[in-house]
């Protein structure tokens, strides 16, 4: 270590020998080097003895702890246990005693994986001159490796389950699983602290890191999970701040320590022991496969997080550029629904030449393309089979005559009496007001438009209360990610939650029900990146301002945020109640 010579006399000051005077004055406060070195040696010996006594105590306490806690200790991350308790930890099958630990496993596994990545990143981004000594972290390496060797397959299973849930459209189940898992972990940490096995630092560090990871996970998944803005935007912040709080309280940090930790993470040039330990617990092939899976996961996540243009102009531009062949029923269903989502009165101003060209190409028109063509007067009644019959007998109109009725209306071939007769016939059709499935909601939406176009909105308004009940019953299917459930998913037409949300929102707007329905669950349907999602998002924004139902509805809506608050509070409580230091004697 280099030394710099002390200062020299300062001739420009009125007292040039000031440094010498200062040294002389402070001589009485100096330590005798030999005695001081002796004191340090004694301090070291005393601390070693103290630590050994602590280790003995922890082993004894763990030996006496309830079986469930002993089983759990083998699953807990090395950060939670103060010492390497070789020979005392290990998962011995999946007995009922392991249930609490098993419940905590997803949160623990996610933490271990995140620590591995964090170590790899620190190693990768290390700068010259920030080298860690290779021998520094032998103990961390040993304990982490032992953990992976003990628990690698259950941990991988838990991580795989989380990934699957997240990407098979059950993100909320994944988040719920993690929240419950974290609660189990906090409970275990509290028990461990109460049994005198883990101190405040260990509990705080573990709880803090897991909260931080849970916040990160929720941050990535929030757009795929039905949640209100409070949960989507603030739950990660709650989790991160609670995590930071747990670490700060656990370590007894001051504000200065906190800033130092935040600003100077000290990357390492040598491989991180936690990362190395994780990698060495698996074969090369398994590591390669895992890396590939995670790379795909990361790529998909990054892709899904790129910014989205959600302006109404985007929807308009998309509609004006639409030119799918009229035989593409799915595309035209989407086009027709999104076109219907525009604010009343704006549809006429669109320039839909491309769609018109596509619709009037050769071949028989049918389905949504036919309806759009009839509504826009691209075709006349003579182009639609049954239009003439309907003109003669409007009282026999059925919802399936939608295109013919629009064409007749466009051609001015229905007088007032005919329009009245057609509208009455429509509303009396069995099932016309049965918005009891997502598809029926779409039919009701189209029926409402037809009855309005026929000039008799009062016939539809009369069924307002009935429809309100049906729409309320429909909301959970969009709210709870149940779109995989066969009765909800249509067998003939792929379920598209954004389109169904648009149908529902148009009906809500048409019936002025925005102040009586809690539309927050529909926010989920607006978070995607597709045109339908953007249109649904604009429509929802137009209807904003609806009251939010009772307190139970509020609890359900804010469940993720409240869960995060509860979790953060419990974790901080567990940290605060943990002993500051483990006792030296049992």
């Amino acid at each position: 270590m280099s030394t710099t010579p002390p200062d020299v006399p300062l001739p420009d000051l009125p007292l040039p020998d000031l440094p010498e005077r200062l040294r002389r004055a402070m001589a009485a406060e100096r330590a005798d080097p030999e005695h001081f070195a002796l004191a340090v040696e004694r301090g070291i010996a005393r601390r070693r003895a103290h630590e050994e006594a602590q280790r003995r105590t922890v082993r004894e306490r763990l030996g006496r702890a309830p079986a469930a806690l002993r089983a759990a200790a083998g699953w807990l991350p090395p950060t939670a246990l103060p010492f390497a308790l070789k020979g005392m930890l290990g998962s011995k099958g999946l007995a009922w005693k392991s249930v609490p630990a098993l419940a905590a496993l997803p949160a623990i596994s996610l933490l271990m994986l995140a620590l591995t990545f964090a170590g790899a990143l620190r190693t990768l981004f290390a700068r010259e001159g920030q080298a860690a000594r290779p021998h520094d972290s032998q103990q961390r390496f040993e304990s982490t490796r032992a953990w992976w060797l003990r628990n690698r397959w259950p941990a991988l299973g838990a991580l795989g389950l989380l990934l699957l849930l997240a990407y098979l459209e059950h993100s909320e189940a994944a988040v719920a699983l993690l929240l419950l898992s974290m609660l189990a972990l906090v409970g275990l940490l509290g028990e461990l602290a109460r049994a005198g096995i883990a101190d405040r630092r260990a509990v705080g560090t573990t709880a803090g890191l897991v909260l931080y990871n849970l916040g990160l996970y929720w941050f990535l998944l929030r757009r795929f999970v039905p949640a209100d803005g409070l949960s989507a935007e603030f739950a990660p912040l709650v989790l991160w701040f609670a995590g930071l709080g747990a670490i700060v309280v656990g370590r007894g940090w001051t504000r200065r320590d906190l800033w130092r930790w935040l600003l100077d993470p000290i990357p390492m040039r040598h491989p991180d022991p936690v990362t190395t330990a994780c990698l060495r617990a698996f074969s090369f092939g398994a590591v390669l496969l895992g890396t590939l899976v995670l790379a795909v996961f990361a790529a998909v996540t990054l892709y899904s997080l790129r910014p989205v243009d959600r302006s109404p102009e985007r929807t308009t531009a998309w509609l004006e550029a639409f030119d799918a062949p009229h035989t593409d029923t799915r595309a035209w269903t989407r086009f027709e629904t999104i076109l219907a989502s525009l604010p009343p009165g704006t549809e006429g101003g669109l320039e839909l030449a491309a769609a018109r060209r596509a619709a009037t190409q050769e071949g028989p028109l049918a389905g949504p393309a036919l309806v759009v063509a009839a509504r826009r007067n691209w075709i006349g009644p003579e182009d639609i089979a049954g239009a003439e019959r309907l003109e003669r007998s409007p009282e026999r109109a059925r919802p399936s005559d939608e295109a013919a009725l629009f064409a007749l209306l466009g051609a001015g071939r229905l007088d007032a009496a005919a329009r009245r007769a057609a509208a009455s016939a429509l509303v009396e059709t069995p099932g016309f007001f049965h918005a009891t499935t997502p598809r029926a909601v779409a039919n009701a939406r189209r029926g409402a438009r037809l009855v309005d176009a026929l000039g008799h909105p009062e016939l539809f308004d009369a069924r307002r209360e009935e429809l309100l009940e049906q729409l309320e019953a429909q909301l959970p299917s969009l709210c709870l990610s149940l779109d995989w459930y066969p009765p909800i998913r249509s067998r003939t037409e792929p379920f598209d939650e954004a389109l169904r949300a648009i149908d529902m929102l148009i009906l809500v707007e048409r019936l002025s029900l925005a102040d009586r329905l809690d539309l927050a669950p529909l926010e989920r349907a607006t978070r995607g990146r597709g045109e339908a999602h953007v249109a649904a998002s604009n429509l929802l924004r137009r209807l904003d301002g609806s009251p939010r139902g009772g307190w139970v509805a509020g609890l359900v809506r804010h469940r993720v945020f409240l869960g995060a608050l509860l979790l953060g509070a419990l974790a901080l409580l567990a940290v605060a109640r943990a002993p500051r230091e483990l006792e030296g004697g049992s």
Partner: protein, 171 residues
Amino acid sequence: MNGDVTDWIDTWRGPLIGLALARGLDRAAAHELAADVFAEAWLGRERFRGDFDDERAFGAWLGGIARNLHRAGQRARTHLPLDDVTVARQPTDEASSDERANENTDVRAAIERLPEAEREVVRMFYLEETSTRRVAALLGLTERAVEGRLRRARERLAGWLAPAADARAAN
């Protein structure tokens, strides 16, 4: 140096004791705290992630341990007892004469009058021979900041002490 505790002690003892004194500890308590810092650092050396030869990183780490121990001591009022750590034999005051004793008393009183930030660096820097780099590392400051504080402290001290020195010389 590479992790040898005796090298650590030789290099950092002075500024660490100075730091403890500046935090209001008396002489014995300051020595005890400094010895605690070395014991703690030695046993926890595996937790240090920097290079032991990097004075800035190592000093910052030692400074952190000192602050933690001081705070823990304040909280619990119990350091791990270092029973007979009268680390110091009382050094003989170099000033045997009354005049020199009076001069030392004046200087110590003047140091006490300094603002806390300046008093801190003066005690750390002058207690034993050390460098501004080490003082800066322990305090988490830049060398330039430490040099600035030292310069201002010297100017103040020279201004306060010069008249008394002149008077003594006139007598």
